[in-house]
Symmetry: C2
Subunit: 80 residues, 2 copies
């Protein structure tokens, strides 16, 4: 099965990359873009045995906490 973890900068953290994209889109003639935020999407394939574990979601949250996201500046969302 495939699980997805979305990692985004927290709202109060300045997104330098997103800001650069927003300005570049404006220069390319794409008007009306008021804000851009760039995050990560991590798609994790899990084998059948482990996919059936009742604590799968907790394990994915632990993965995100310990490795996929930086909880100081990023939020994450686990989707099964």
């Amino acid at each position: 099965m495939k699980a997805t973890v979305l990692v985004r900068l927290k709202g109060e953290v300045l997104d330098v990359q997103g800001d650069a994209v927003r300005r570049a889109l404006g220069k390319l003639g794409f008007d009306g873009v008021t804000d851009v935020r760039v995050g990560k999407i991590v798609e994790i394939e899990i084998d059948e045995v482990h996919a059936r574990a009742p604590d799968l979601k907790e394990r994915l949250q632990k993965m995100a906490d310990e490795m996929l996201a930086n909880p100081v500046i990023e939020d994450y969302e686990v989707r099964l």
Copy 2:
């Protein structure tokens, strides 16, 4: 309104970052992870006037083609 563009490496392209994450998760004791792919999620805030444009989706696809993704190695998906 907010539009989302998901950018992923094409399936046949080796995902070096995803592979490093997969191995690191194994070392941290997270078993059963057979594959990891890392992509980008670009969240674009569009003002009301431009959000009503009938060609909004086409414009977002053009943004993705011209700037957000590298069509040689990446696929993208526009979500409104």
